[in-house]
Each structure stands twice: as C-alpha cells, then as structure tokens.
C-alpha cells in the first residue's frame, strides 16, 4: 500500500504536475520564467557555488539519463572491473563537486545581506531538497555498490514501467530505504520544478546557436 502510494501514485502526481504546470505557467505567466540570477547582487561566491554545482550536477544528471535510456550499454561497459571503477569514480567526483557547489550556494544565500533579500521560501525548500538529493546520492554510491549496475537492472526498468503506464514498484521494493528516499526526493525535485526558479532549466537557450545575430521585428510584417 505504502509502496504503491510512494512509488506509483507520487511519481505520477509529480510528473503530471510538472508537465501541466510548466506549460500553463509558460503560456499564462511567461514573465515569471527567469533564472532569477542574483549575480548582480553578489558575484564572487556565486562563481564557486554556481559553477561547481551546475557542472557537477549536469554530469551526474547525464549519467542518470544515459543509464535510463541505455541500461544495456552501461552493463556492457561495466563488464570489465577497471571500467566500472572508472565510471563510479567519475560519477562520485562529479557528485562531490555538486555537493560543494550547493553547500556554497546555501551559505551564500543565508550570509550575503543583499542575496537574503531576494530569497523566497520556495528557494529555501528547493535548496534543501537539492542538498538532500545530492548528499543521499553520494551516500548511496558509497554504501550500496555498485550503483551503475543495479540502476541498470532495477531502477531503469522501474522508471520505464512508469513511462509505459504499467508500473512495477516491486522492482525497487527490495532496495534499501536510503535508496528509496533518493528516488522520492528525486520525484520531489520534479514536483518542485514548475513552481520554483528551476524552470530556467526548461528554457536553456540552445536556440541561440541557430538564430541570426540581429533580431528585427516589423510591426507591419511580424517577425523577420
């Protein structure tokens, strides 16, 4: 019952809300989509916090996504122990970078007098959840080896079962609670996505690479 609620009901609520609210917010409140950068108010400690956090978490997230889309490839790669160690050590060091980054960001947010002014309650919640997510991920990676192996055999099929609308929570039911909590806070991040500044992740300006350097808009002709 509890398993069904936490690992079937909750993920679906989080996912549906993430998609629906993001779209609604983009259509009805486009002004609210912003990175809400506070670099203008404080730049030096942001350099360490933001750079370490973003680079670290981007690699960790890509690793998760890669294992989600191509679990067999990960297993094949892990066939040789040396390659497994290489993968795990890389992932762990990136996660440590992200941890140092997010801690620096939290310290900055609560110590800089100007940044404090632009901190909303949801910012605090988000930072706390992200800190937990990264810290629990590192804990799991160290204590329950090897993550890249069981992610491919258990987590990836479970996540795919959610996507295919045929949930199989039993795949992860036997996993330790620390791992399950990592799943839960992961879904919590997805739930928080549309309601917080995290939406900047959805509007990463990759289209910049294709657009012409100058933008001219004619009132009479529309975009040109």
């Amino acid at each position: 019952m509890l398993t069904n609620f936490l690992f079937v009901g909750f993920p679906y609520v989080a996912l549906v809300l993430a998609i629906v609210v993001s779209i609604l917010r983009f259509t009805w409140r486009p002004f609210s989509y912003s990175s809400l950068s506070s670099q203008f108010l404080e730049t030096e400690s942001l350099f360490w916090g933001s750079s370490l956090w973003h680079w670290g978490i981007l690699w960790v997230l890509s690793g998760h996504l890669f294992a989600f889309f191509l679990p067999e490839a990960i297993l094949a790669w892990n066939a040789r122990p040396l390659r497994l160690y290489l993968l795990e050590i890389t992932g762990l060091s990136m996660a440590l970078l992200a941890l140092v980054g997010v801690v620096a960001l939290i310290v900055r947010r609560f110590t800089d007098r100007r940044v404090k002014v632009v901190t909303s309650p949801l910012d605090v919640v988000l930072l706390a959840v992200l800190l937990y997510q990264v810290a629990s991920g590192i804990d799991v990676a160290i204590r329950y080896r090897w993550g890249s192996a069981w992610f491919s055999t258990n987590a990836a099929p479970y996540l795919w079962s959610l996507i295919k609308l045929a949930p199989r929570p039993e795949l992860i039911a036997p996993l330790p609670w620390m791992v399950k909590l990592h799943f839960l806070s992961g879904f919590l991040v997805i739930l928080l996505l549309p309601f917080t500044r995290l939406v900047h992740f959805l509007v990463v300006p990759i289209f910049y690479y294709w657009r012409r350097p100058q933008v001219v808009i004619w009132n009479r002709k529309g975009l040109r």
Binding site: L36, Q39, L41, F195, Q214, I217, W218, N219, G222
Partner: protein, 498 residues
C-alpha cells in the same frame, strides 16, 4: 540595398550645462521602481571621469561591443562556440557595487523619534536591504570633477594622452571638463541584441528602437556585459533586463522623449536617419582609422531616388521619408560633419551622435599654464592651444583618430569667430571668412549651423514622424484581445518568480 529608417539623436555638448534634468525626467517616468531604483537609463557624466557604472569604457574588463577576429565580426564577450559556458556565471558582469547601492532616508524618524536634547536625524537606509547604509558612491559622484583627482585620474580615455598632458589636465590651474549625457544609443548593430541567448531583445523595423521583450527575457545577463555603453540594466528584483525604450509611446505619436523634451540647455535633437542595413557588416570590419567614415557611409542620402525606392520597398512611409529629408540629425552628422558617435571602435554603430564641446575659452600656453584671455585673438586662439587635448576627444569620439574631431572643432571655432565678426565686429571679417573657408565651411552653411545651434525652435530640434500604429500588425488580430489593456502589452504586476 536594404534601406531602413532609424530614429536618431544628436546631443550638442557645447550647450549642456550638466543640470541632470533629463535624468530626473527619465527616472520619474520609468525607473522609480523596486529593482530598477539603481538604474539611470539617462545619466549625465562629467568628463574626464569614470562615469556610471564606474569605468564603463574599460572593455578589457567588461568585454562590451564587437571585435574583428579572423576577418569576422564577433562579440568581445565570447565566441559563439564558447557561448553557453558562461551561463552559470558571467565573468564580466558588473555588479551593483560598480553602479551604486540605491538608498533613501528614514524620514519618518524625524517625526516619530523620541524627544531628546538633540534634533532627530533621518539616517540613510539601503533600498535593497532596508538596513542602515554607509553611503560610499552615487551615480554621479564624479559630478563637476568632484572627488578629483580620484575619478578624473581613472578615466579610461586618459590612456590615449601623454604623461605631460595628463598632468596638465589634472592640475588645478588648468582643469577642464565637459558633460556627457548618455542614453541607450539604439545602435544599428547592437551587441546586446546579438548577445541575448533567449532572443528577447529586438530592434523595431520601423524606427530602429531597441527593446527587450519582458516575457521572453530569462535573466541570462549577457546583454548587460555585451553592451559596451552599459545601457542595459539588470532588474535585481524581477530577474529581467531593462533598458531605455526611447519613450516609444511618445515617439510613436510624434512627441519627443521625456529626456529630450525636458532638456534645459536644448542640447538634444531628434530626427530620422535612413541607413543601409546591407552595409553594416562590411562597415564593422573596417579598421579603427576608417570607422567614422564607414559609419557615415552607412547613412543614406534621403534625397537619392534609389534610396527612397528601397526604403519604400521596406514599408517606410512617406511621412518618415519626408522627416528624413528635414532631419536635424542628418545635417549635423552628414551635411556638416559636426556630430560624432561615441566610441566608434566598439563597432555597434550608435544612433546617438555628439557635437564635441569646444570647451573653455581659456587656452593653454606653451608651458602648460593657462591665462585669462586679454584680447579677442586670445579668446579665439587656434585649436592647437585648446586646453582639452585633442587626443582625449579622439579617444572618446574618433576611435583614436584626431582628424574627424579636429574637423568638427575647427569648423565650430571658425563659425564662432565668424559670428563674432558679423555681430560684434572686433574681428576682421576677411580673417573670419578665411577661417571659415579653411574649416571647409562658407557663410551660408555657417549661418545654418548657427541657427540650428542657437536659435532652434522645438520643431527644428525634433522632427519626429508619427508612426502608423493604425497599420501595425495588432489591427490585423482581434482588437478586443487588448481591450482594457494599457497599450504596453501585458498587465501583470512585475513580480519576482511565480
């Protein structure tokens, strides 16, 4: 040929008295809001000085404008390939400390303070944090060389001068200064537009005004760094960038913007320029020495039939074409060669031009000591003896080239002498006329320049065609969609986040 029209501007620095009325007019209309309280879309600087934000001309630090790299025009900020690397932290972004932390005073303490032996005071409090603030800088604390030599000595343009000239400029007997009012230049090749990752900044086709779509801006902050004039500002409260919008609701109805309208010294001119958009890239690739000429070549002759035909093809209305033929800006920039764009070496091709100030009539002697002039000849001393070194003005207006600045200054000095000869009569007319000829001018042109400089009416200064909003794309959509709206787009309160 791709002729577009541009609302362009001339600021006549000889007439600027540095009163900041323009700044206040703008502040009261547009930036008297939370998050925008530190912004001065229009500000007036004293030169030599560091300006606002401090040392904005130092592109080694701020990375504004364009550079030519491998035969291509590229943002100084970053190449396209390395673009996204800087998104997590923008290394060249000026912070609030480079502008100033806005403050107010706790006036209510004057009324609510407890009864004491001494008078209550209104302490300064930060407009960001609300806490007591020890005020260290303001947006114009280099005003009238206040704080010199601290501010004046750090002027970026002094690098172009010799050590001797610098000493002379900063010593108390030979101090010299002039004012530089600055707004967004609404450039023909804007670096802010090119740098915006979201494509939120755009140039309006009809009048060339550069605007930021607040609904598309995501606060990536590239525009703030990329603008070499530091005229895009980051609203720290809403997380969006904002900039001077040239009071477009006024311009569209043929009125002058607030800063233009309120100008006490009547230094501001506004008119239409036609320019060839096809030539921009080639002009931007020219070496520094040719930039002033290349910029002027961009501007098309409004009487040329081929230009008119191409403009019509782009939908430029007859009213705008007529305004272009009467443009005071075109006369100052092209016909007379008096007005120069600020820092052409940034390669953004500003639509704002300055007539350089002739400066004080007192001149520098050979040994660097200035004397009060005792005769008319001394008042109208040759340009070579001007107290403000030409190299300084060349750094500001000529991309380091003295020739275009010298041309403008020489002509103005010749006209001043000519008018002295015709009005007061203590200068020999023949000498004055010879001076005019030498400065590539004649009595007829001198008279026209004199009239547009000194006797210009409101209508002479502002030749602004009404833009045809009734033909705009809005009327093709459902008119009821905007019913009840203020006409400025969305009506949502500009709150931070969701």
């Amino acid at each position: 040929m791709d002729i577009r029209s541009q609302v362009a501007m001339v600021f006549h620095l000889d007439k600027c008295i540095g009163c900041h009325t323009c700044s206040i007019a703008c502040k009261n209309v547009w930036t008297d809001r939370k998050g925008a309280d530190y912004m001065w879309w229009n500000n007036v600087e004293t030169k030599p000085g560091t300006g606002y934000p401090t040392q904005w001309e130092n592109q080694e630090e701020y990375k504004g404008g364009w550079v030519v790299k491998d035969g291509k025009l590229q943002l100084r900020l970053t190449s396209k390939g390395k673009f996204l690397q800087k998104i997590f932290h923008q290394p060249s972004l000026p912070t609030m400390d480079e502008y100033y932390e806005p403050w107010t005073y706790r006036y209510e303490d004057l009324f609510n303070g407890p009864e004491r032996d001494d008078q209550p005071t209104a302490i300064p409090v930060s407009k960001v944090t609300g806490q007591y603030i020890d005020i260290e800088a303001g947006p114009n604390w280099d005003d009238d060389l206040g704080g010199s030599p601290l501010y004046a000595r750090n002027d970026v343009n002094l690098a172009a001068m010799s050590e001797e000239q610098r000493l002379q400029l900063l010593s108390i007997e030979t101090l010299v200064m002039f004012y530089l009012p600055r707004i967004c230049n609404h450039c023909a090749n804007p670096a802010c537009v090119a740098a915006c990752p979201s494509g939120a900044i755009y140039k309006r086709g009809e009048d060339g005004i550069v605007l930021i779509n607040q609904n598309v801006c995501r606060g990536w902050r590239y525009c703030v760094s990329a603008c070499p004039y530091k005229k895009v500002f980051y609203n720290w409260s809403t997380g969006k960038s904002e900039k001077c919008l040239l009071c477009y609701p006024r311009v569209e109805t043929g009125q002058a913007p607030a800063c233009f309208h309120s100008c006490v010294g009547r230094i501001r001119y506004m008119g239409v320029l036609l320019y060839d958009a096809d030539k921009i890239e080639a002009a931007g690739l020219k070496p520094d020495a040719e930039l002033v000429t290349a910029h002027r070549d961009l501007l098309a002759d409004p009487n040329d039939p081929a230009v008119i035909e191409s403009a019509r093809k782009n939908g430029v209305s007859e009213q705008v074409l007529k305004a272009a033929r009467n443009s005071p800006v075109y006369r100052f920039v092209k016909d007379w060669g008096l007005a120069l764009a600020p820092h052409p070496e940034y390669r953004t091709f500003p639509s704002l031009f300055y007539v350089p100030a002739l400066g004080p009539v007192t001149y520098a002697m050979e040994n660097g000591v200035a004397l009060n002039p005792t005769s008319t000849e001394e008042i109208f001393a040759p340009l070579e003896q001007a107290r403000l070194p030409m190299s300084y003005l060349a750094s500001l207006f000529g991309a380091g080239q003295e020739a275009p600045v010298r041309y403008a200054m020489k002509k103005m000095l010749a006209i001043r002498t000519w008018k002295r000869a015709t009005e007061v009569g203590d200068v020999d007319l023949k000498v004055a006329l010879a001076g005019l000829r030498e400065a590539d001018c004649d009595p007829e042109q001198a008279e026209a320049i004199y009239r547009l400089t000194s006797l210009c009416s409101f209508e002479d200064r502002f030749v602004i065609p009404a833009s045809h909003r009734e033909q705009a794309v809005e009327v093709l959509t459902n008119p009821l969609e905007r019913k009840g709206a203020a006409g400025f787009g969305f009506r949502e309160a500009p709150q931070r986040g969701f």
